[in-house]
């Protein structure tokens, strides 16, 4: 496909506050392109404008200037949302529906043909491992279950792009881990995933590319590896460490003009510690997290 999944061009959004309409600039001239079949993280602190950008992209807000498009269709148009699944931040779904009813309902809203609704619903419920809780009212779900059923409704119509707003906020490590695995599974199915998060550490190992926003401006954008690597530094992890060997290694390094900065014991993250002690089987490839830089 020649069109990128998402194209945002010179996007600016001002909010009007008060009777006289004092301007508050939430998004300031942001341009961004997200290619097909990537996991893209839009990161930044609360109130940096990432949710606003996402809402404009989904046609929930009107831009003040600039434009967004999804697979080449302008966000103004309802058609642009045919190929999008969206998980809002802290989703509250119709509490009076059961999980299965909810997914079926959104499948029908999205125009999934009647003959396919049942199959698709069961398919995505399996994908998010919610088959066993699907008969329960959504009102009884835990936060992690809500996020998972939220992802199920977002993908039930098999969209090419999935937009997730703070998918792991407020979810325990096991839940976050499961969601991370799900996101990777979606990528493997050929989907493009865009996620917004202020929990930078959690998405670090997940995203192919990230953009960082601050005060409405895009401050950084690129591949995760290229952004995070300190080009001229490498860490060695040594088993059966011997302090005497350290002096010899330093000597060898000095010979090549390198220098040993720091020696420390590598640590696993608390998340990982938690996972290992609670549900070891759940540890997978996706969440091997934030000890990379410091090791």
């Amino acid at each position: 496909m020649s069109e990128p999944a998402i194209r945002i061009k010179n996007l600016t959004k001002d909010f009007r506050i008060g009777v006289r309409g004092v301007k508050l600039r939430a998004v300031d001239n942001v341009s961004l392109e997200i290619g097909d079949n990537q996991i893209f993280g839009l990161l930044g602190p609360n109130g940096c404008g990432k949710s606003t950008t996402m809402k404009i992209l989904l046609g929930l807000l009107e831009p003040t200037k600039g434009e967004c498009s999804i697979y080449g269709i302008n966000s103004h148009s309802v058609k642009s949302r045919l190929n999008v699944g969206f998980l809002p931040e802290a989703p509250y779904f119709y509490k009076f529906l059961s999980g299965r009813e909810l997914v079926r309902f959104y499948a029908r809203v999205c125009g999934v043909p009647k003959s396919e609704i049942s199959d698709r619903t069961e398919d995505v419920l399996t994908l998010v491992s919610m088959q066993n809780a699907a008969h329960r009212r959504v009102g009884t779900y835990s936060k992690g279950m809500l996020q998972r059923i939220g992802i199920a409704q977002a993908v039930v119509h098999d969209p090419k792009l999935i937009v997730l707003d703070e998918p792991t906020a407020g979810v325990d490590p096991i839940g976050s881990h499961a969601i991370a695995e799900l996101i990777i599974a979606l990528k493997e199915r050929g989907k493009t995933v865009m996620l917004c998060s202020h929990l930078l550490a959690q998405v670090e190992g997940l995203c192919d590319r990230v953009a960082i926003m601050s005060r409405g401006k895009l401050v950084l954008e690129g591949g995760v590896d290229e952004l995070l690597e300190k080009e001229d530094q490498r860490s060695l992890i040594i088993r059966d460490f011997n302090p005497q060997a350290q002096a010899e290694i330093e000597a060898v390094l000095a010979k090549y003009g390198s220098k040993l900065d720091k020696v420390e014991a590598p640590r696993i993250s608390l998340d990982r510690l938690f996972l290992e002690n609670t549900d070891g089987a759940a540890i997978g490839s996706g969440q091997d997290v934030n000890d990379k830089e410091d090791a």
Binding site: G18, V19, R20
Partner: protein, 295 residues
Amino acid sequence: MPLDRESWLYRTGRRLALTAAVLMGVGLACAPLQNRVWGEVKSFQPEMNLRDLEDALGQGVIIGLLGGFRTLVADFVYLRASYYWEKSDRPNTEALLALTTSIDPRPLYFWLNAARIISYDIPVWRVRERGDFEDVPQAYKDHIYQEQVDRAMGLLDRAQSFHPDNMQIPLEKARIYYDKVKDYENAAKYYHQVTQMPDAPYYAARIYANALDNLGRSREAYEFLRELYPTLPPSEEVPQASREVVLERIREFENDLDMPLIERFPPQSIELAAPDPVNLTPFSTTGEGTSASED
């Protein structure tokens, strides 16, 4: 200050103007339809004298009255009047009955019952206020009766302005005059009025003749019944018409008036068929305060 097209004031103003324009346009376009339907509906809803009602009810209830709860408020006031009636509380009963009919003059039931209470029940209460019923001088009783009957007539006059074509009102007047104050002059006048109206009950004509008789105008009563008789349907079809009773009465008048045989009403088929007529019920001349007192 230049007009800021994005200000809250401007946007709200524009929205209001647009809404007002659309609604007024619709209002104008629907005017013929509204005139047609409202013209019909309004004809069923007599105007209220708000100034009188406001003193009695207060503004809150007035809004309810105007806003479609008119019948309900009238019912409530009437039930309240019934409550005071049970307690023989004259001022409250009379005031609330008047209020009921002012609020909703449409139900005949209110008018007729109010008139009955005012003319039959309240006089008894008033006499009792003076002392033991038997001990109160007849002259005083008559005075009270006349006063209350006059009040009831005032009420029924107002009723007639709302229901000019309804025979129940003159019928009630006639009955009250006849029963309560033995005013046969007025009773005859109103019974005659009733006989001229559609749907008049058959007994009205018979009592009219009685009233004339009581006034000493037996000849007139006789002539009236002679003319009436051929218009009555046979008893097998309409028992209430009491054809036999009328014929019996005609014969009585002929005897009382000592009429020569040649002038008398020719023998009727029922007399020939049944030479020995059973003793038919005498005229009922009572009005017991319910509309179903006759037949």
